[in-house]
């Protein structure tokens, strides 16, 4: 079931360095939220706090409150492993497991979650997930080939298939198209609009047009000076953000990029 996300007073640290400060954000279920902002302002860092991947980095920690579907992600007794099963993630660079076949890649998460799955269920799930990621037609005849034998765009869609195979409630994407050509990008953008029906999606992108095309709401992160923490400047409906944002900095950034 898709879930909404509430973030309150979130501060994110790498050791002593505060990378992101004071984020408050409300994300509705079944929506696509785009996060934009200059490089180094903490978009990836913020995104990774939404599935507790941030703490994988040694010394990294979080202060504040994140709730998904009303559950405090950082509450006592919450298992980060369980959180990551609920909140899927697609990375900037496609990262299928090179030692696994295409089918096994899709099943990787499922095999972790409920170890046993019958052959026919597995075949169904592979097909369903690959169809969901718009990849089925291209790979249906070579499911036992290694995942790394695909093109970059196909690999990225394979990663999306892998993420949605475990049926998470939220899908996080960190610049999923930055390594892809325009056609693959288009394929993934179309996919995102379809996936929204079943997932809550948060996507980081450097591409304004992309943010405008795929998202319902857009959040702008900024960083004042190097060494300062990044902050969420504003978040609003995408149409509003791109036509008349309430903050000057947002307008500068967006118009600057549009040139």
């Amino acid at each position: 079931m898709p879930q909404g996300i509430q973030v309150k007073d979130l501060n994110i640290f790498y050791g002593d360095f505060r990378a992101v400060a004071d984020v408050d954000m409300e994300i509705e279920s079944n929506s696509v939220t785009a996060l934009i902002g200059p490089s180094g302002c903490g978009k990836s860092t913020f995104l990774r706090t939404l599935n507790r991947m941030h703490e994988v980095v040694p010394g990294a920690r979080v202060e504040g409150n994140v709730q998904i579907g009303g559950v405090d992600l950082y509450g006592k007794g919450v298992d980060p492993v369980a959180v990551r099963r609920e909140v899927g993630m697609v990375f900037q660079r496609p990262n299928p497991f090179p030692t696994m076949s295409i089918a096994d890649n899709v099943l990787a998460g499922v095999k972790l979650n409920n170890r046993r799955i019958s052959r026919s269920d597995a075949a169904d799930l592979v097909e369903r997930s690959l169809r969901g990621a718009n990849l089925w037609k291209e790979v249906k005849d070579r499911l036992d080939r290694p995942g790394s034998s695909l093109s970059g765009g196909q690999q990225q869609r394979l990663c999306i298939a892998r993420a949605i195979a475990v049926e998470p409630s939220v899908l996080l994407m960190d610049e999923p198209c930055s390594a892809l050509d325009p056609i693959s990008t288009l394929a993934i953008e179309e996919l995102i609009s379809q996936l929204k029906e079943r997932y809550t999606i948060v996507i980081v992108t450097h591409n304004m047009q992309q943010a405008a095309r795929v998202s319902d709401r857009t959040g702008f992160f900024n960083i004042e000076n190097t060494g300062d923490p990044g902050r969420l400047v504003e978040i609003d409906d995408t149409a509003t953000m791109f036509s008349n944002p309430s903050q000057r900095a947002t307008e500068d950034y967006i118009s600057g990029r549009f040139g």
Partner: protein, 328 residues
């Protein structure tokens, strides 16, 4: 890259500068190509020289009549093959036993160092392992002969009395100068090299793949199983082969621990059943002359061939799943 292809001229530099750079590049490329070709050929030559030496020196034994061979005081076999066979068997058995014990432990230590231990502890352990690799084999032999044999005695007594119904554990006789003890010493000796290589390989697992596993909701162990171990597979096989090579050729430690025998025997706990080629050469060589030297060299030739076969098999294993290796 083809040698001698000039690189595209750097735009900022003038045409002359570009020419000069191109010139030195071609030169550097040629020198480097020459050096690497040369080294490659040198290795082949050395290998060929060793092979030729072994064959030529072993020839008298290979062609000798069994009656001639029987003149040698320690030669108790029908033919040369009958003599080499049990030695090959003993060598491979001891090495494989050592490998079977060392590989799981090494992988465990390597994983602990690369993925579990806090950084300080990991570094300390790493040094310790490297240090183990530097201990000369005579010292391992002394350790095995003077200490380990005593320690293993109660263990093997127990093993023989409780699991003695399995033939391989039957018939233990003290002192524990059997092939299993030799294999334990060998295992300890090859542990550091396997651990060191495996650790390097595990540390090189792309962060991207580890995070992919974690983001799917893998626990640390599951992450290791889905990302680290498959990625390190061929590296670990190479590491094991390095260890196997060392175990196959190890001389002193076996010589000092094992009570020799020339049987095709699977009694791991009985003394006087097995001997390895290397230890046998070291034991007999000082007294050998003429044909008996040739016999020993023939056994050395057999060891050379075994090592070759082992390497080929390892390569075949690695190559079989090359598509899935992550190297593409």
């Amino acid at each position: 890259m083809t040698v001698g292809t000039p690189p595209a001229p750097v735009a900022a530099a003038g045409p002359r500068a570009a020419d000069r750079r191109t010139g030195s590049h071609v030169w550097g490329g040629r020198v480097f190509a020459g050096l690497s070709y040369g080294s490659g050929i040198l290795i082949l030559l050395v290998l060929a020289a060793v092979a030729v030496f072994l064959v030529v020196q072993a020839l008298p034994a290979l062609t000798a009549d069994p009656t001639e061979l029987e003149q040698i005081s320690w030669f108790r076999a029908e033919s040369l093959l009958g003599y080499v066979g049990p030695l090959v068997f003993g060598t491979v058995l001891a090495a494989l036993l050592a490998l079977a014990m060392a590989v799981p432990v090494s992988i465990g230590i390597a994983l602990f160092i690369s993925h579990y231990a806090p950084r300080r502890l990991a570094q300390g352990l790493g040094y310790l392992v490297d240090l183990l690799a530097a201990i000369p084999s005579v010292v391992y032999g002394l350790w095995g002969a003077l200490w380990l044999i005593g320690v293993l005695d109660p263990v093997m007594t127990w093993l023989s009395s409780t699991l003695g119904f399995i033939p391989i554990f039957a018939g233990y006789q003290a002192p524990a100068k059997n092939v299993l003890t030799a294999a334990v010493v060998l295992a300890v000796m090859i542990l550091p090299i396997i651990t060191a290589v495996a650790r390097e390989v595990f540390l090189q697992t792309p962060r991207l793949h580890e995070e992919a596993a974690l983001a799917l909701g893998a626990t640390r162990w599951e992450m290791i199983r889905t990302a680290v171990l498959p990625f390190g597979r061929s590296g670990v096989i190479s590491a094991a082969m390095l260890g196997l090579g060392r175990a196959l050729g190890e001389t002193m430690a076996v010589l000092m621990v094992l009570s020799p025998g020339l049987l095709f025997s699977f009694f791991l706990l009985k003394p006087g059943q097995h001997q390895t080629i290397a230890a046998n050469i070291a034991a007999q060589f000082p007294e050998a002359a003429g044909l008996s030297v040739s016999v020993l060299i023939a056994t050395g030739l057999a060891l050379f061939v075994i090592t070759f076969v082992v390497n080929f098999v390892a390569r075949a294993i690695v190559a079989r799943r090359k598509d899935f290796s992550g190297a593409n």
